[in-house]
């Protein structure tokens, strides 16, 4: 059964192309703003959300970034960010804000479709750069909930090793390893949400305040706004 998705993107090209180029997805709605998504509330297994929704020509003041993720997850949607954004701390901040996955628009559409299906099924898709950040946080005891096997798995994946390579190292089957990874990424996402910017800055050797602008503040913040530029 094809997962139903709602596409939120300011580009009509992307909104149209998801349905045309990814036959494994059923597009339940394609809207240009998260405000419209919240108003219409289509039934969807997954919201495919662009990170940069504001544009000067048509919708300069719409919600975007962390605020958009929060608005969608607040309505009970599972969210997968679909963006050209490459900055690793911005991507990590999206996971911390509640996104279930992050898929790059630079990926081939077939691969992107596979990842959307994975997130719609409850999985967590993390870019390699974010896996690297999480490995550092685990190694520096910022995240401490991991078993030795999970640490080994994270170590292998952070080096870009395939499931087959890591499975061989750990003497388990590839499918078992995929199950471990699914569980591990969920756990890491949850842990990431619990961390403060200061803790992450300290673990990564960043200067105090480097992450404040990127990292999600309290949902009740009066200025619940985040600029991705």
């Amino acid at each position: 059964m094809r997962p139903a998705v709602a596409v939120v993107d300011d580009s009509p090209l992307i909104r149209e192309s998801v349905g045309l180029l990814m036959p494994g997805l059923e597009v339940a709605a394609a809207v240009s703003t998260v405000e419209e998504l919240v108003r219409r509330r289509p039934a969807a297994d997954l919201v495919i959300l662009d990170l940069h929704l504001a544009n000067l020509e048509q919708q300069p003041d719409v919600r975007q970034g962390i605020a958009a993720i929060r608005a969608a997850t607040g309505c009970g949607y599972r969210v997968c960010v679909y963006s050209q954004e490459e900055r690793r701390f911005v991507l990590a901040a999206c996971l911390a804000a509640g996104a279930g996955g992050i898929v790059s628009k630079a990926l081939p559409t077939r691969r992107a479709e596979e990842l959307f299906v994975e997130v719609a099924a409850g999985g967590t898709v993390m870019p390699q750069a974010v896996v690297g950040i999480l490995e550092v946080l685990v190694r520096r005891d910022c995240i401490t909930l991991l078993s030795e096997r999970q640490r080994q798995l994270l170590r292998g994946r952070a080096r870009g090793l395939s499931y087959a390579q890591v499975a061989k190292q750990l003497f388990v089957s590839e499918s078992t390893l995929r199950g471990y990874w699914l569980e591990l990424t969920r756990s890491l996402s949850d842990s990431l949400r619990d961390l403060t910017p200061a803790e992450i800055e300290h673990a990564l050797g960043l200067a105090p305040g480097d992450l404040l602008e990127l990292w999600p503040a309290e949902p009740t913040a009066p200025k619940d706004w985040w600029r991705t530029g």
Partner: protein, 477 residues
């Protein structure tokens, strides 16, 4: 330094004709200098979060964030070296001078009240001075800049009035050398804080007014040796007013020049960025244009390959990959930071999608010869990926372990090869394996057809620190 209250009527020393002068002179010289030095020695030249454009969210994530904001509000060392930052520093200085003056006035209040021929008037004058100081400090802190022309004018007027009224509320003989006669000290504090007023006429007029009022204050009390003391006090007003005025003006000029320099830097950076974008997009636009033309399958296939290369180049640009090439250079013979080296090499392969995860090896340094070997090997590996692998993802991972050994992993998800049947080319065989082994590194190559290639370079059994020391000393010899 505590205030040396001199409520006795003994003859004052010529150097301390009245106590406030002695106290405030040190205060006036030291504090602005300290303030200026601390402000200029601020670590980062500018903190973007201080400007309105980059204003952070106002809500705090946690108490720590709120505390951090509170601390930042009061830490002069973290004030930005902008015009706004300097004005804020001035506001701290002004509040310090004014509140300090009130603190100096306070201990002698009861003596003044007890000895004044008009107690109520003395208290009213004292209260007016204290209130003006406190309100002026609060307003200055809230405004984050010195008081405006109207408030400064009122300040001067009050100081003059207090000096003129002083002979009526002070007992004979108390006009020198005691904080019971706070009026000259208060007038000096007004001169110090009004140095920052914009209008030169207002400033000069206020100063002259205070000198005239001080002359009236002296009245018939001056005589004998006290004439020269009184003259010295007047000169003190003039000299301090000039010095503090120069201090305000020069500091403002530094801040203005710093702002201009930053604006110029930003403009140059913008132009450079524009140039980079133009260079980067030049080929991409041409490929896109050709793709819109009708063409045969073979031509289109080649164009798609070219488009793929341009796509990777643009992705690298979006990630800021080019800046990696500008990684800091090191002096000859100095240990080399491996993370910076790896970033620099990865920057040369903008067409590959390289994820460089280097945080765990951020502190790793190698002797120059060993670092050179690693750099050549990594470049050769990435060249192999570019030419042969057809990979969509490349991960370069640096890890320094707890036992001070380290590993550098280069993994691509490309075509791979069978090590049993394929003889490695000269690059992999000589530059990577041969040279690295000669330098004492261990090299492990894991590849399989269709499953990509993983090359791991390890430091070997010898701990890094020892190796650095050993190699550096050898290089020096």
């Amino acid at each position: 330094m505590s205030c040396a209250l001199r409520a006795t009527r003994s003859s004052p020393s010529p150097l301390y004709a009245y106590v406030p002068k002695g106290h405030l002179s040190a205060f006036a010289v030291i504090w602005p200098s300290w303030l200026l030095l601390r402000t200029l020695s601020f670590r980062g030249v500018v903190r973007p979060d201080e400007s309105a454009e980059f204003a952070r969210p106002t809500a705090a994530v946690d108490t720590g964030r709120a505390m951090s904001r509170w601390n930042r509000l009061w830490r002069v060392a973290e004030l930005p070296t902008t015009k706004a930052g300097v004005e804020r520093a001035f506001s701290y200085f002004i509040a310090g001078v004014r509140l300090g003056t009130v603190a100096q006035m306070l201990p002698a209040l009861h003596i003044g009240v007890a000895t004044s021929p008009h107690r109520a008037a003395y208290i009213a004058c004292w209260a007016a001075a204290a209130l003006a100081s406190i309100v002026g400090s609060a307003v200055t802190l809230v405004r984050r800049r010195p008081l405006g022309a109207a408030a400064s004018c009122a300040d001067f007027a009050l100081a003059c009035l207090l000096l003129v009224l002083a002979p009526m509320v002070l007992q004979e003989g108390e006009r020198f050398g005691t904080w019971v006669a706070y009026q000259p000290g208060y007038a000096l504090s007004v001169i110090l804080v009004a140095g920052g007023v914009r209008g030169r006429v207002l400033w000069a007029g206020g100063l002259l007014g205070i000198i005239a009022a001080y002359t009236a204050y002296l009245g018939g009390a001056v005589g004998g040796n006290m004439t020269w003391t009184a003259l010295g006090n007047i000169l003190t007003y003039v000299v301090y007013a000039l010095v503090i005025r120069m201090f305000y003006g020069f500091t403002r000029r530094i801040a203005r020049d710093a702002d201009d320099a930053r604006a110029r830097e930003a403009e140059l950076a913008r132009r450079e960025e524009e140039r980079r974008a133009q260079v980067l997009m030049h080929n991409g636009v041409a490929v896109l244009r050709l793709l819109t033309e009708p063409a045969g399958d073979a031509e289109r296939s080649r164009l798609i390959d070219l488009a793929e290369v341009e796509l990777r180049r643009m992705r690298s640009y979006l990630r800021g990959g080019q800046s990696r090439q500008d990684a800091a250079a090191v002096g000859a013979g100095q240990p080399v930071a491996v993370a910076a080296l790896v970033e620099r090499v990865c920057g040369r392969f903008a067409d590959l999608h390289v994820d460089a995860l280097l945080d765990l090896g951020a502190g790793l340094r190698l002797a120059p010869a060993r670092a050179d070997a690693v750099e050549r090997a990594l470049e050769s590996l990435l060249l192999n990926v570019r030419v042969h692998a057809g990979a969509s993802e490349v991960v370069v991972h640096l890890d320094q372990h707890d036992d001070r050994t380290w590993s550098l992993t280069v993994r691509d998800d490309g075509d791979g090869f069978d090590p049993q049947t394929v003889t490695p080319g000269i690059g992999l065989r000589e530059v990577v394996v041969g040279e690295l082994c000669r330098q004492g590194f261990e090299v492990d190559i894991d590849a399989a057809p269709g499953a990509g290639t993983t090359v791991t370079i390890r430091s070997g059994a010898e701990p890094t620190a020892t190796a650095v020391a050993h190699d550096t000393s050898r290089g020096a010899a």
